[in-house]
Symmetry: C2
Subunit: 569 residues, 2 copies
């Protein structure tokens, strides 16, 4: 389905090279630097510095408490930008000058400390990008000094939250559309500014979309770029006489030959009796075909889809056909998309029959756009639409149903002492301590449960029955005998490697190279396919269980007892 | 109210200089360049180029069809980035190389044309940033070649849509909170990546917020930066013995003097009988006070707001007071914010009475955060909360209630011929032709109606009765005798000035300098204050009327008759 929209592009070796260069260097956005943080991170770290705590060894977990979109899964994305941020972390002199204005009473030693700070003392453990993740399981575990660990919070959250949200949204739309349909991202104009649009294009592609309209994202990330034309193009023509060029350039025997095209189209129009169609629209389609003889995908709803747009498209396509070119199809951007797609397909079938063209028109591509969403696609499915490609903008990039993923970043251990955050809200409890996370699989190869443990507990063993518990609710516990055990968190950044070895460059600190966007996309598609169907349902999906070991359960509840004050009633 | 949160900053002259430098130079985001566009813009322009149409004179309108948030007003923002984009518009050689890959069959002359393209042949008319705008009124009118005009569409929409949306959201929250409350933007971690967060900070401030937590936005845009501390800070301390430093540095007779502070706090705690509070939390507040003796704003809900957080804050504040420092206040981040704010205020009043402190505690600032929104603030108002400052993140930056503004960019005239776009959906009709827009005011000085006219009609006259009509509905028309008439669209960019004059730099092309962010903020506050109350209601607001002159009304309907095909039933 990859050539359903015009201007599909071969991936050239040059572009691959370009991608790698950027992937391992700076963050995609120059704004993504240590100053892109909340003031309180810097305020807190100054107080820690003053109290000689910045070098205390701390562990932070990054996780979310609830899957997005009333769903029961999320796809992790954004690790690439996290690593690029980490690997280039450095305050500039100008940053320090500004921070001195913000903290006029702070001691100068603090600013000296900030100026030399980088991420060469931290380790980051992460789940692989494109993996399905669930509430409470740590996605990132950051180990290192309390100071630097605290300073990373906001930017890491900023890099993970939206990336994972839009990737998950894309994956859900892919599920809704089904495996035989193509999905295009058209959201740049409605995203949160330039790199809202850029991130949306990148992570939608990772989530399973087939291309984007965003040229910059195509250039930087090697995503297939697609596009047709807009209403403005159609409106730029009022009549056939607006056509300054009436010929089309075709190649015959290796040579460019100009052939009269307008008269050919008009003769087809007369033959079919389509005399009442809008003439400006016809002129626009002709001119588009002149520019893209092999790529005509016509937007047919500027004046009237059935009475004008589709007939005009058929006229121009017939003329192209006579010259040996196949047009691509049509795009619908308003009205009843299910009805119009079925009607257009019927008109195509009728032309095939009337002119004995075989299956020339009936297999043309029908693209639909206009406020599509997961729910609209599911509703169109019920109406037996005949759409081949969905172009989705606003609802994809804004994640209308839930426009923010609530990842948080919590201190769970300091100086090897686990820390707990209590809260008036039970669901805001944090699972304390440095933890490992495992995914346990059942006999059928499907994931059954995630288990969090103390990092020094023995991992779950294949074939060995173990008790797993809900971290907070005493009544929820179960036995499981795993058929496969997968450790979820792996070391992706080891700043210390550059100090302890002869390594001098950042790729040495990067333990696992960042996979290409295409391989992360494949990972995501495979992960989502492997999820149990009931976890993926759009309505009332079954929750996937994230549990803790018996030992961690006991520990959490002892620590809670110790820390929660008892009120006097 | 500007010093209610700690780390408020004086605006220094250096920062003003920095702001101006950036304001008139490059877009804030390096991603904001001519490649940040939809592929179809480039495809269409190639087809236009081939048909020798790129230099035809065109007029495009940028407008929206529905005010956001079920409201009846919107505040225009984002013109600054539009102008920066326009003034630096230029494809690079590397861009052209990539575009050649995307359009392998395009003639090379097209790429030569693209490479020399800039915005020196266009004019942009715009409404002033910070002005209240309404559905259908053009916000920007772009005049120039069809090619360059078409190429600007996506990026201009990207720059205007989110900026105006979040600015309007901020303005609505300001209305909900009321004039005596302060509002802080805390949304960086939930925004759409780095400059989603950056734009949110900038345009929320413009909409009436008092500060941001975003350090980078503070540095670049000269916005007051605020911050307190997080739960992680409290959790970094388990007991008093974690305090590596027990003194506080005060200034006496111009000299730094270290005074024992921990014992002083513990003596206050014993005096008040607050023995059951969490000791780690107390240690954290002590250390924060040591770092910021004049800026203690304590997050009090880590363990228990009433039983631990507020009492610990009181102990530390009393010790600070003895040394001559006033603490700032507390922040609530969970639980029943109305109840907790009232309870905390009562506890403050009680301490004042018990220790005969006058109004020492009762006037401390109470900051609330945790999923606040316009609706939550309105609900808190009904419960008689006692909150002074609202810290708002997710709901502000994601614009949860409506995460995209639907601005569109439409061709309305070409070669002096007005163009109309019909549609299956009546509301998607476009008002054709190059138009002027006027705001008409009534006797009380309030805006009554916007009138769109042919650009060559005589402007509405003060004191002269005129007929205004709904653009599409025949039954809606009215007379008005304006007391004041304000032209809405003014020339902000005149590319041709550089050709016709001796000007060599871009500021010559900029007809109106971009006002500072502070003056745009003042404009916005004044505009919103001047709006009629019924247009600002959160529920069922009265629609503001956008109308057309009698002459334009007739013209629209004639053109519609001409262009709409008549179906055979």
């Amino acid at each position: 389905m990859s050539n359903l929209l015009s201007h599909d592009v071969e991936r050239s070796p040059q572009k691959k090279a370009r991608q790698v260069e950027i992937e391992f260097d700076m963050p995609s956005n120059s704004l993504c630097n240590p100053m892109l943080t909340d003031m309180y991170q810097i305020s807190m770290v100054y107080a820690h510095w003053l109290n000689e705590k910045v070098d205390q060894q701390a562990v932070f977990d990054l996780f979310f408490r609830k899957c997005p979109f009333n769903g029961e899964f999320c796809v992790f994305a954004g690790l690439d930008e996290c690593i690029k941020f980490i690997s280039t972390y450095k305050f500039t002199e100008s940053d320090i000058e500004y921070l001195k204005e913000l903290l006029p009473n702070a001691k100068t030693g603090f600013f000296d400390w900030l100026l030399q700070l980088d991420c060469s003392t931290i380790k980051i453990y992460a789940i692989q990008e494109g993996t399905a993740v669930f509430a409470k399981t740590p996605i990132l575990r950051i180990e290192g000094g309390l100071g630097i660990g605290q300073l990373l919070e906001t930017t890491l959250l900023n890099c993970v939250n939206y990336a994972s949200l839009v990737c998950t949204n894309a994956a859900r739309m892919k599920i809704a559309a089904g495996p035989t349909k193509s999905l295009m991202e058209f959201g740049l104009r409605r995203a949160q500014g330039p790199d809202g649009g850029f991130s949306a294009s990148k992570y939608s592609y990772m989530g399973g979309f087939d291309g984007t309209s965003n040229v910059l994202a195509g250039k930087v990330c090697d995503i297939p770029v697609k596009g047709t034309h807009a209403h403005a193009y159609v409106m730029a023509y009022t009549s056939i006489s607006d056509l300054n060029v009436t010929t089309i350039t075709t190649v015959q025997h290796g040579k460019d030959v100009d052939i009269e095209f307008v008269q050919l189209v008009l003769s087809k129009r007369a033959e079919l009796g389509y005399n009442d169609t809008n003439e400006g629209e016809l002129a626009a389609f002709i001119s588009y075909a002149q520019a893209y003889p092999t790529g005509l995908l016509a937007l047919v709803d500027t004046y009237d889809t059935v009475a004008s747009g589709v007939p005009n498209f058929i006229c121009v396509s017939l003329a192209l056909k006579e010259l040996g070119y196949d047009s691509v199809g049509i795009r619908l951007d308003s009205g009843d998309l299910a009805y119009l797609s079925v009607t257009a397909r019927t008109m195509f079938r009728d032309v095939d029959e009337r002119l004995s063209l075989g299956e020339c028109f009936v297999n043309k591509s029908i693209v639909a756009s206009n406020d599509l969403s997961e729910d609209v696609i599911l509703s169109l499915n019920l109406q037996n639409h005949d759409i081949d490609v969905f172009g989705i903008g606003t609802n994809l990039v804004t994640c209308l149903k839930q426009p923010a993923l609530g990842c948080v970043y919590k201190l769970v251990e300091i100086n090897k002492t686990p820390r707990i955050k209590l809260s008036q809200d039970l669901e805001k409890l944090v699972i304390p301590g440095k933890k490992s996370a495992y995914r346990l699989y059942g006999e059928n190869g499907r994931a059954v449960v995630d288990v969090l443990q103390h990092h020094d507990e023995n991992p779950p063993q294949v074939g060995v029955k173990m008790l797993v518990r809900h971290p907070f609710e005493e009544s929820k516990r179960a036995y499981i005998t795993p058929y496969k055990v997968k450790p979820l968190l792996t070391l992706v950044w080891d700043g210390i490697r550059s100090v302890n070895s002869t390594a001098t460059n950042k790729t040495e600190q990067l333990c696992t190279p960042i996979p290409s966007l295409d391989s992360r996309r494949s990972q995501c598609l495979a992960e989502v396919a492997a999820l149990r169907e009931d976890h993926k349902r759009s309505v009332n999906p079954t929750p996937y269980k994230v549990s803790v070991s018996e030992s961690l359960y006991k520990f959490i509840h002892e620590l809670w007892q110790e820390n929660a004050p008892i009120q006097n009633l």
